[in-house]
Homo-oligomer: 231 residues x 2
Amino acid sequence: MSADVAARRGIPDASVARLPGYLQALTSLAERGISSVSSEELAAAAGVSSAKLRKDLSHLGSYGVRGVGYEVDRLAYEISTALGLTQDWPVAIVGMGNLGRALAAYSGFATRGFNVIALLDRDDSLVGTPVGDLAVRRMGDLDALVRDDRLAIGVIATPADSAQDVADRLVGAGVRSILNFAPCVLDVPSDVMVRKVDMSTELQILAFHEQRRTGELDLTAQSGVEGVVAL
Amino acid sequence: MSADVAARRGIPDASVARLPGYLQALTSLAERGISSVSSEELAAAAGVSSAKLRKDLSHLGSYGVRGVGYEVDRLAYEISTALGLTQDWPVAIVGMGNLGRALAAYSGFATRGFNVIALLDRDDSLVGTPVGDLAVRRMGDLDALVRDDRLAIGVIATPADSAQDVADRLVGAGVRSILNFAPCVLDVPSDVMVRKVDMSTELQILAFHEQRRTGELDLTAQSGVEGVVAL
């Protein structure tokens, strides 16, 4: 079974979500000239347990060799293939405010497998403005982008109150994969996949842990004894 | 048991990660003047199953009333308290490139519970440059920010190759919660929590689904018959 075939079978979503992390760790190892890695080392570099790593990779049909581990280049290629990164996916970013401009300039988008082909904005007064190597285009160009340039992924970088409208335009033009940066839940047909990048969500999760940590410190301070013993 | 006490007990990480989504959905309902919501409606708005929603909320000691559901304001308050959002967490953003500037301007950071108190950069030539309402400060100010302004959360918006150094500076100054936008894994002490926002990871997950979808379309096209029947 090739990795490509495996990709179309039922790899659990949670495993798919961890593959990019493994790929990133492998790329970093390759850059340092390391050609083989144990599951323990790779797991540590990706921030997961080695049992979870081995389980995830087994879905791709990739098993390490006892005492040797995984061949870095080969495993990177297998994961890239499984993720569909051996071809270029055309990406459009919608919304040319601060965030959209940052995303247009963000080197992470230049990762192998993605190609930002268009920047769009609903505001016609922005059309033609150069942002990096591209000029801002009008929303009406979406149909042509999907038809002629095989636009596959739309990135929504608008405020929350226009995100649903932009999503409707993308879906109407035939885009079926959306990366949403607007802090809202989008209503899309079931065959459309939306991934959300929500910075305030991540901040709130940090706040939870910060509170728990502070709470624990307070409790220690109140109990007193433990603090003294620890000294 | 108050929500605050619940927060310090063992709420599963996966449940904590979903609380911000519920809070966002509740905030949106409250803005529309809706005062009570069924678990099914709230679950749909947050994009999870109602069974999962009820399970998550039970960790807070919040149970809906049969036939009535949840009181919107009350539940929003309980979740805010559990997440630690009833106090303001001081945040500093490090790295004043495109991404850092976008984050400084991003309205999501102004969400209740967070307060961006400082923008920093390693490049001394940027120090003093105004970005929004703040002026860029030098990294050496971190100690004073933690000591005098109770800086709690550091946001890393630098390129990957300087992220670890910035993380070390933040940790050295006493920051224990880090939101990392750089596409790399950070090595930090075990009492430091790092959340990662990685746009290329999300894009890669979309690529996987786009490939699977395209693969399915190809298979349909090849089999031919199904296509005809569908017409």
